[in-house]
C-alpha cells in the first residue's frame, strides 16, 4: 500500500469540494495499474482500506468524513427516522426505536461482519461499499466492472454470484442493510459539490449492470450521502431480515431476505419482499409481494409467495443451490414476521 495524505474536513462542502472522484470511478481503468492521484471520500474505511491493500486503489488523499458534525445522529423525521451516514452498524443495531419499528434493518446491521467491524463500519459506507466479487477484487482479473471486456464469473467460479439481472456482470450487491432499506422504502439525502441536493429512493439509487456496468449506484464525484431517511411505517407493520452464510461468524450471505408487511388483523395490506445476494442490486420480488397483498398470511399463501419470489431466476452453473435457500429463507421470514 502506498503512502497517502489524510484530510479531515469539518463540513460537508469542504469534503465534497476535495473529492476528485468516486471509488467506483477510480477503479475503472483501461488496463494495468489503478490511477494514482485521486482524492477519495472515506467514512469507516473498512472497504476502502481493503481495496487499497489489494492494490485496486492508489489514492493520493483520503478525505475522512467522521469528524463532520451532525452525520452520526438518529433522529425522528415526519414519523419516520433520519439516520446520519456516519451512524455505525452497531449503533443502528442497538438503537431502541430502530429495533422496535424497523426490526429488519436492526437485524441486517446487527448480523453483518464482526463485532469489531460493526463498531467502525458506517451505514453510509455499508451502502456504498464495492461488491465482494472475487474477480472484481483480484488485480489479475480485468473485469467489465473495472473497465475490462469480460465478466469472469460466466464460465468461472460463480457459486457466490447473482441469480437475477446479471446481464454483463454477475456481482451481488454486498450490503445486507440495503436489502432492508429498500423493503422499508428508504430514501437518501445526497449533497453535491456545489450544494446541489437530491433525494432518490435507495431503490432508484442502486443500479443494475444494464444501466451501468462500472458502478453500483448513481453517486457522482463530489456527492456525499448525508442522510438515510426511513418513512413512517404503517401502524401494524411487521418486518424481518434473515440471511444464510456458509459460516455464522464474519461471513457474507449466500442469500438474505427482508420482508416488511403491513398487516391488518392478519390480512396483508401491503408487502415488500426484497432478496439480497441475489442480484447486482437488492432484488425486489414483486410477484411475491402481489401474492401476499390482500391475503391472510398463512402457510399456503406463504408457500406460493416464496415460490413466486424466484420467478425469472436464471442461476449460473454453480449457484443453483441458492434457489432452495432463498425459497426457504423467505418462507421462514414470512412465517416469523407474521408470528412475531
Amino acid at each position: 500500500m502506498d503512502a497517502f495524505e489524510w484530510m479531515s474536513p469539518q463540513d460537508i462542502e469542504q469534503a465534497a469540494r476535495a473529492a476528485t472522484t468516486t471509488v467506483a470511478a477510480a477503479m475503472v481503468r483501461d488496463s494495468g495499474e489503478p490511477a494514482a492521484g485521486d482524492a477519495l471520500l472515506k467514512a469507516g474505511g473498512i472497504d476502502l482500506l481493503d481495496l487499497m491493500k489489494e492494490g485496486l486503489l492508489k489514492p493520493r488523499r483520503l478525505i475522512h468524513l467522521r469528524n463532520i458534525a451532525g452525520l452520526d445522529r438518529i433522529e425522528g423525521a415526519e414519523g419516520g427516522l433520519r439516520i446520519g451516514p456516519n451512524v455505525t452498524l452497531s449503533q443502528l443495531a442497538s438503537h431502541a426505536e430502530v429495533r422496535m419499528r424497523f426490526r429488519a434493518l436492526a437485524q441486517a446491521a446487527g448480523a453483518s461482519a464482526s463485532p469489531q467491524i460493526r463498531h467502525l463500519a458506517t451505514l453510509g459506507g455499508n451502502l456504498l461499499q464495492r461488491p465482494r466479487c472475487w474477480y472484481l477484487r483480484s488485480r489479475a482479473h480485468h473485469c467489465t466492472r473495472k473497465g475490462g471486456d469480460r465478466c469472469f464469473a460466466f464460465g468461472g467460479e460463480n457459486q457466490y454470484h447473482a441469480i437475477f439481472d446479471h446481464k454483463g456482470c454477475a456481482i451481488v450487491h454486498p450490503s445486507t442493510c440495503a436489502t432492508a432499506l429498500i423493503a422499508f422504502g428508504a430514501r437518501l439525502e445526497i449533497t453535491g459539490p456545489r450544494g446541489a441536493r437530491r433525494a432518490p429512493s435507495v431503490e432508484e439509487f442502486l443500479l443494475l449492470p444494464e444501466a451501468d456496468l462500472h458502478r453500483e449506484n448513481t453517486l457522482e464525484p463530489g456527492e456525499i450521502v448525508t442522510a438515510i431517511v426511513l418513512p413512517a411505517p404503517a401502524q401494524a407493520t411487521r418486518s424481518l431480515h434473515i440471511k444464510q452464510c456458509e459460516t455464522e461468524s464474519f461471513d457474507w450471505p449466500l442469500a438474505d431476505v427482508a420482508v416488511v408487511l403491513d398487516l391488518e388483523s392478519g390480512v396483508c395490506r401491503k408487502a415488500a419482499v426484497v432478496l439480497g445476494a441475489a442480484a447486482p442490486a437488492p432484488h425486489r420480488a414483486r410477484a411475491a409481494e402481489a401474492a401476499l397483498t390482500g391475503k391472510r398470511i398463512e402457510e399456503p399463501v406463504i408457500r406460493v409467495a416464496a415460490r413466486a419470489a424466484l420467478q425469472g431466476a436464471a442461476p449460473l452453473a454453480k449457484n443453483g443451490y441458492k434457489l432452495p435457500i432463498f425459497e426457504t429463507l423467505l418462507r421462514r421470514a414470512l412465517l416469523a414476521a407474521t408470528e412475531g
Binding site: 461471513d251 432452495p324 435457500i325
Partner: protein, 785 residues
Amino acid sequence: MSAGTRTQLQPVGIAGVSLGQAERPVGAEEAPALAPNAQLSCIGRSAPRINGHAKVTGSATYTVDVTLPGMLHARILRSPHPHARILSLDTGAAEREPGVRAVHVIEHPIGRAIEIAGPGEAGPARRQLRYVGDPIAAVAAVTAHAAQAALERIRIEYQPLPFVIDIEAARQSDAPPVFDRPVRTEVFGGPAAQLPQHGNVHGPDTSASRGDAAAALSAAEILIEGEFHTQVQTHCCLEPHALLADWRDEGLTVYMSTQFTAGIRAELATALGLPLSRVRVVVDAMGGGFGSKSRIGNDVLAAVALSRKAHAPVRLVLDRHEEQIDSGNRPATVQHIRAGARRDGTLTAVAIEAYGTAGVALGAGVGNFAQSIYDCPNFSLAQSDVFIHAGPGCAMRAPGNVPGAFAYEQIIDELAERLALDPLELRERIDSSPVRREERRIGAERFRWSRRLAPGGGQGALKRGLGMAQSHWPALVHTNCACEVRILRDGSVEVRSSVQDIGTGVGTVLAQVVAEELGLSPGDIVVRIGDTDFPAGPPSYGSRTTASLTPPARNAACLALRKLIAAIAPTLGTTPEGLTLRNGRISSSDGLHSIGFREAAGRLRTEQIGAVASRCDDYGGFGHRMGDFAFARNGLGGVQFAEVTVDTETGRVRVERVLAVHDCGRPINPRQIESQVHGGILQGISYALFEQRILDAPTGHMLNPNLEQYRILRSRETPAIEVHVLENYQGTSATDAYGIAEPSIIATAPAIANAVYNAIGVRVRTLPMTPAVILEALGRLPHRS
C-alpha cells in the same frame, strides 16, 4: 542382555482399567521407573503455560518483533502466470531504485518436485514458472514499501504456456504437462522409490499392498464401495512465515518462525556449504505451523542470499496472500474404495485407488490409515500424484490420514449399516486395539450414544444426527534429540534444548518433568529453548516433540541431581550412595544426613553443574526406524463422537457437540493436551465444512487467497467440546509420553460425515460439506435445462 543395561518394573496398562507393572530392559543411565501420575506432584497436573501471560498481554516476542540495527526488508516477486517460461529477466532498474540494497534471482527453486536432468544434460536453460505465485526474485531495501516498489521495476519477458489446474483434466494424456522430465523427490529418511510417470500422473505407488485383494473382493459376502473427494486446505497459521537472516563473516544467524530449529540449521548448512557450528537458528514465540514451517523454503534461501549480498540483516515476512498461494497446503484427493467383508463383519479385502494433487509437489497420498487401523489380510493400495499448475502442497497436520480417514471411516460406517450392526459393535469385531476399545466404551457412555436414531429418522426440516469415527496415527520419536539440565549455585535450575514451542506448550512440559525429578515446582525451572546454541531438540511435527524430548529431559535432570549429590556428599561427611532426594531434601536413608536442595546447590565448588542426555531407543526397541526418527511399537488411537444438525431445506450443517477420547501414553499436562485436542477438532470441523482453496480454471489464480473468502471456522461455529484422555502406560521410556496433535484431527471429519449421514440418510462423500453440496446430495437443486 548387553552390558550397561538393567531391568526395571514399569507401570503398564490403562489407569483405572488395567494398570499393572511389567519388566523392561533399560540403559544404565536411565532414570528409575516413574510412578503413575496419581503419585506424582508435577507431571500429570495442568501447570499453567509458562508463556501464556506474555502471549495474552502482547509482550511475547514473535519473529516479526525481532529487529536488528541496519535491518533491511525483503519482498518476493512472484509469477503472475500459472505456466510460463522466462525469456528474459533484467534486474538493473530495480537495483537502481532508491533504497534498494540487493536483488536476488531465484534460479533453482526448492520445495517441489525437481526434474531429473538426463545424462550429460544441463538443466533447462531458462527458468520455467509452474504456478501463480511461483517465486522469481527477491529484493531487499530499506523499507518493505521500497522493496515492493522495486519488484515492479524488474523487467521480465514471459512466454505463457498452456496450463491445467483441474485434477481430472490434468490426468488426461493430452493435458499440458507440468514437468517434461521424470521428477525426483525425497521423503524423510531417504529417497522414494522411483515410480512411473506418464504425463502428469506420477505413480501408482503400490508398496503398501498385501495379500490378494482382487480375488478376495470377488469372493466377498458383502461389498461396500464409494468414491470420495477431498479439497485443498491451507495451513492458515495466524502468524505468517517470517524470518530475519543475518549473514556475517563469523557465521549466519537466522531468526525464524519454524517448527524445527535444528533441522533448519542442518538444511541451511548443507545448502550454503557452512559447518553446522557456523549456523544458528533462533525462535521465541510462534503462532502455529501445522506442518508448513518444517523446512527451509525459497523465502529462507532468498533472505539469506540478500543478507549476504547486502551485508545487512534482512527481514522477510509473507503476507496473507502469499501464505495462501505459496506456503504449502493439504493436497486434494480422490479415493475409490472397495471393501469386502463376511456377514459377521470381518474384513476380508480392501482395495483403494487414490490419486491426489499437491500441485507442483509430490506427497498427495492417503497415509497409512486404511492399511493399519483394522486387520484385513488382503489389502491393495494404488496411489498416484497428479501434477497441476498450482502451489506445492506440504505436510499438514496428520498428512494423508486426514483425507484417508474421511473416506475409510465412512466405508466402515456403511458396512455397519449394511450388516445392521451398531458402528461401535462392528469396531468391537474388527479393531484389535484394547486402547480404542476402552475409548469407545467411555465415549459411548458420556456421549449417550444409545439415543442415536436410525438414519434420516428425525422429524421436520432440521435433522439431528450422531456419528463416530476412529483415529490412528503412528507414535513417532525423534532420536537425534537432546536436552541439558543445569543446576546453578543459587539453587536455580535451567533446562535447555533447541526445541521450539510452536504453540503447543512444550516448554511448560519440560519444566514439569524437570521439576518432578528435582522435587521443585515447574515455576522454579527456567526454560531456555528455541535456539540451536542449546542441545539439538526434536522437530515440532509428527506429534513427536513430547515423546522425543521429555525422556532425555528427565534423564538429564536425574544425572544432574546425581552430580550434585556426588559433589556435596563429602560436605555432609558421607558418600553419595545412600543419598536421595525426597520432599525437596537430599537425605540419607538412615536419616542421619539431610540438606535442602537450594542449600546443597550452594555448596557447589563451581557456578553450575549440569548434564546432557539424549533420546535412547524405546525400552524394548522401536517398531522400525528411518534415519533420525523411529516408529514406536504401538500407535496412537483416539475415538471421536459428533452430534450435528442438518437443515435439509438450506443445506446448513451445524456441529453441535464433539466428544473426544484420546490417548498419548502418559499425559504430562492435561490442560495443554485438551487444548491440542480442541485445536485438532476445530481444524477438523473447518476442514469438513468450510475450508477450500478455489482456483480459477481459466486463469489459474486462487480466488480466495485471504481469510475472508477462504471460509474458516470461527467462534460461532465452535461446538461444545469434551475431551477425555486416557493414562495409557506402556513402559517404553523415562516418561512414557507420546504425542497428541495429529491424532486429534484425524477422526473429526469422518465423525461429522457419519453424523450427517445419520441425520439425513444420504451419504456425503465430498468435502467441504457446504450448503451447495448438502442440497445436491439431498436432490434439492433445481433441474437445469
